[in-house]
């Protein structure tokens, strides 16, 4: 399946703005599975998307969680806790 990745703030600095990837999940296609797969792709991702890190995620412009299912063509954004206002 095709996924549009987006990164913001400190994650953008570490990983770039994001890219379109082709991902074949070995199990259910969820945010958690994608995050796990991304960690295995690069040492930078392994660090900033690590399980101990506070990372929030949005799927198709809505806040999501590790269990959120992903569809083909989804836009998935990873970013640190938000600090607006």
């Amino acid at each position: 399946m095709r996924v549009q990745l987006r990164y913001f703030a400190s994650l953008r600095e570490a990983l770039g703005p994001g890219e379109t990837i082709d991902w074949e999940p070995s199990g259910p296609a969820t945010v958690g599975a994608l995050r796990h797969w991304l960690r295995a792709r690069s040492t930078a991702a392994a660090e900033v998307l690590g399980t101990g890190r506070s990372v929030r995620v949005a799927v198709d412009l809505d806040m999501a969680s590790e269990d959120t299912p992903l569809r083909d063509g989804a836009e998935v954004a990873f970013f640190p806790p938000v600090t607006g206002g």
Partner: protein, 161 residues
């Protein structure tokens, strides 16, 4: 004409004009509660920091629109509007404005506070501070999660599970 209820912009805004626009042409509004957030400089002895605000275009507007919908459901307000700036900001500059129109003051005050608590922890903005010692991303505060929890909403921002 319906103006966008959530506006993200680099330019400064005029709080009085925003408030008037929210009220324009209506006679059912008995209360107008507004909040203006400004960039707070560092302490008196500390160097003053410059802020850069980043956001997630598209998601930010959508998130704030849905917060306003939620405020309308909860407090039966008559209208609300949010303006948030992004880009480079100096201490003392306006950064965010929330206006709520209601029939009575209670729902207007409450919805205004609710919107700010919600925005602080659920709208995709990030602040970066520049000081003479270098740049750093501002940490999210658990106190902001606690503020949202008062409304019965689990934030999962600073104090993530």
């Amino acid at each position: 004409m319906t103006a966008a209820r959530a506006r993200i912009q680099e330019a400064d805004f005029d709080p009085a004009a925003e408030a008037e626009a929210l009220r324009a042409g209506r006679t059912d509004i008995g209360a107008l509660a507004t909040f203006t957030g400004c960039v707070r400089g560092a302490g008196p002895r500390d160097p003053v920091a410059l802020l850069t605000l980043e956001h997630y275009p598209g998601m930010t507007e959508r998130a704030i629109e849905s917060m306003i919908d939620e405020a309308q459901r909860r407090f039966a307000i008559l209208g609300a509007r949010v303006v948030h700036r992004v880009g480079l900001l100096q201490p003392g500059e306006r950064i965010v404005w929330v206006g709520v129109a209601g029939r009575h003051r209670r729902e207007a005050f409450q919805a205004c506070e609710f919107l700010m608590d919600y925005l602080k922890t659920q709208a995709p903005f990030w602040k970066k501070e520049a000081t003479p010692e270098g740049e750093r991303w501002v940490d999210a505060r658990v106190a902001d999660d606690e503020a949202l929890a008062r409304w019965g909403i689990a934030s999962g921002n600073a104090g993530m599970p």
